[in-house]
Symmetry: D3
Subunit: 230 residues, 6 copies
């Protein structure tokens, strides 16, 4: 199970990452044609966490966080570490010591398909983490994995250098090439939604705003009156 | 899969809903003879959420929130929307745009056996939602379901017009007919509990307050001393 | 299914419990050679909860909290009640009434492999609870279980009188005999970590601090350069 | 938690049950407009099991099979017992002793949202059971539930007297009133499928048989050629 | 995470194991006062598997089957290997190569709270295995665990030398001391059940055989007639 | 959510597929350095199923099997269809009608991260399917997905044209380029295992065959004698 650690990977332009950081996960997912989301079991370990950065990928083994140390050296400011696992595991591969190291080296967050611990300390440090579990379970440093290779994390394919946006709603992956188009689409979507929001807030119906009545009738929806009062 | 949207359904008297709104979910569930609860996987998307209203029911299909727009038109102030699914699904069928619409039309909350997104915005708006998942996954508007028909949501049968009470402890369904009796029983229970609470706070034992000692002995409980110190 | 209630069990020295109360769950678990943890589905019902006490064990049956009343009498100040179940169950066996009783009798917390209710009230009371579910589901008092016998709770073997430490990261069980050694090992670990933290915060790498480079090379890790920019 | 046992409930005509018994679960579910299915976690405890009968409903409590004995007396030949639970539970509420009783009294099967044991013996007896778990866990007879009241079992609402069809694909509920129409629709569906099957077996495409090409194009499907060989 | 391998452990008398081997898991669990069962997710990897033997315990780490080789040396004919895990894991720690070794050394089966692979070959060899998952995922040999120490496997505490009985219904643990009494109780239970079975097969009701009618009435069960035919 | 259907994709040489078809999933996974496996929840719908073929990939939406018809046209003899889902879903997207079509057009099997129905008929037809659930739940044809694009199925990245091997142990994905090397490695592994199997069957220990004793001692394993007989 020997692995590789890839030193330099193409990263997106900072300006594109900055633009994407202004949108929420749901908006970006929609702007991508409803794709790119990780599974909903990936949750922030503290409420209100938000991060946007460039994916530094890690493939680790159950109960083993050795590769997370290898990743620390290859990190660049603005990176968000994405840890995929070779098999389902909920052990606490990440805690405040590693967070201290990652923060010192410029990482802006961590997404891990395993467990995380020291959640209270992470909140205090303001270091955002998304994980599938909170677990104090400690780990060994025995099996070599890989850094900066393509991985599958929580059902999403991630290439090193993709843009990761994460918030209370989950985690979305934006392919590096095409990230600029996604940012534009997200902006367009947000503007359109602002207009719709105003109309909905005024009590107008989505049925009318989106012209749904005819399609509903065609699809067979029948309106009828309910039972008389009993 | 054509469906129906029922316009007028019998609703409970406002006074009864108001009375029920004063009790917690656990109290009402007990007052109903320990029935009416949804399964515990239905959780508030923001802590501290509380709602009590009249059920406007929706049957929707996986990944499709079309019927939630149909529901907006049939809504009356004080309604709480209860969304059942034709199959297990965790997609984000509800977010802040629909919440804006629902709030504008008088809904007091949403209970959905699927996913919810924009949770941070919902908390800011003060719009309470109970769901089985948080997910940014977007939806289509392609398959017709129904509104205001009897549904099964999270293991509980719900009729349109039933009273729904939801808080940090979960969601309970009170049948419309009989809601007044439940309110009275809840009140009686709360008074009794207040007295018990005082005695327990003073250090008295439940064993004595509830007269359990004889029943325990009869059921075979044996007291014995532990091992000597080692 | 008759059971036993054991009155007196050996308890650890107060001073040892006090020492252990100064460490987090992750630290103590590591200090024990990475053992003693309950499964990660045991979560605090309110964020920020912390407890350290002496285990008063209970074996209860699904949907039945009778034994939790028996436990109240056998409780001593500083105890933490650990409830194991004879079969998987998520019903709300514990709520604010029992918490009022337990608090009055000196218990410092509860760990239960079932459900808990009245979570908002528990937070207000400051009574810490770890459970596998939040559920308003009420219970009966019909089947006799046991108090202060060895149990298995959330995958961990617990003897009455063991020390239980619980926080946001989970729950760990320290065998009574040997608790002093664990406290010492935890202290040593914390001192060592403080030094490491300082170096990591200064940007030094774990690879260097822990001398990992040679072992990684031996284990087959290959460094390579990534693709040229596209 | 006192309950009721209802003696006589309207049952469907035998001829209708006989007609429905000729179709599989998937066919009947489709013939009902894709409704009536229990959740897919309800599985036969032995492969090849099949049953069709009239629902005798039971509401039982976790770890308690008392009501299954009450049901035995109210049973009529051709009944299939449907056991709903007041809370999630996987204990083995049913085994070969009860199966011996049920068989002697004419029941044709059991559907239970809990556990089942003695699976080898049940297969030998030819008594078909659908359950959510196999578990040897024994039960008490302490809490009263109900027999022949409306229940929710595995997400489906069941009235006493509804027709239940179960096979390797799962369990479907046909409302008593309307069962004849469902049988006719199932027959029509089966005939249509036989014709389609022949065409598909001959290599014809569903795209052509169902005229899907235009709708696919309209919905935006684009055909394109793949990459040249590498 | 260094561990110990204990060479000689007290084993039960062969005659007692032989007597227990004549009973099913459900019978033995009942004979023990409804205790000793592992959780129902432990399933035989091939239907019809049955085993009864003396527990040789193993504590292993996620994705690591090193200790299973250590166990092979300490094995005695008639042993059944019980593998507990330091953390939840579904990897395939056991397959036909290890089964070949175990069989050659006299083991009569394996119970593992992780995954198993080569299930087709195991069935052909007639080597019975109970596991929580089937998985082809391979393992490393990197972390030391322990052999023949007390473990918790699938929720049950197991001491080396306890008797393990496993069949289609699950796995039960009989403490070594007291195994003879359990065998006697199982025999008594089986004889009593044989008599009951005959009466039930003749159509007699459990209500009468077990004298339940009075208790049911006392507990509040009300009989009533159903609705007139519609 | 418009999609693409890619007509021609590079496929591996038939000879390589034929070679790989001779090995089991576990062997191939090991020969690939323990990679390429789908998650263990992907199970054959009938025991003894085996398939090896060239991946024709499909991305479908919850409750919608439209794309499975599109796939039928693009299929070539020897293909195995791999269906990924845009969101978690257990509906029965595949049954015997589609299987009839697929068989007629030369497909050798199906791997689907959703549900499957008509399992009895599939077994009779000898058409092998791996799925995450068995469900009779029917589907619509409303949302366009894609065919022959890269997908993530059950945690594994799959490119159209990759080789898929599936048996009772699960499903493994072999990248098209490099498939020949994997076949050779699998053959080498099998030969080596044959020799080891002979030695193990003769009672030799893995400890000796694999030279583990020194490494175990170095890693800290201590042997000790157990307690004297009690």
């Amino acid at each position: 199970m020997s692995g590789v650690a890839v030193r330099n990977v193409p990263r997106p332009e900072e300006a594109v990452v900055a633009r994407l950081s202004g949108f929420g996960v749901a908006t970006i997912h929609e702007a991508m044609g409803r794709s790119g989301l990780m599974k909903p079991y990936m949750r922030p370990v503290w409420a209100g966490a938000r991060a946007c950065g460039c994916a530094l990928t890690v493939l680790a083994h159950p109960g083993d966080n050795w590769m997370l140390h290898v990743a620390a050296e290859l990190m660049r400011p603005g990176d968000i570490v994405v840890v995929a696992m070779s098999a389902d595991n909920a052990d606490g591969l990440f805690g405040e010591l590693l967070a201290t190291s990652y923060k010192a080296r410029g990482a802006v967050g961590l997404v891990i398909e395993a467990g995380c611990r020291d959640t209270a300390e992470l909140r205090e440090m303001g270091f955002p983490v998304w994980s599938r579990a909170v677990s104090a379970r400690g780990t060994v440093k025995a099996s070599v994995g890989s850094v900066n290779i393509p991985v599958v994390c929580a059902g999403a394919a991630v290439q090193p250098g993709d843009v990761i946006i994460a918030d209370d709603d989950g985690v979305v992956v934006v392919p590096r090439l095409g990230a600029a188009e996604v940012a534009s689409a997200a902006q367009a979507r947000e503007q359109k939604e602002a207009a719709t929001r105003k109309r909905l807030a005024a009590g107008e119906l989505g049925l009318d705003i989106y012209n749904m009545r005819e399609a509903l009738a065609k699809a067979g929806l029948k309106y009828q009156d309910g039972p008389a009062e009993d």
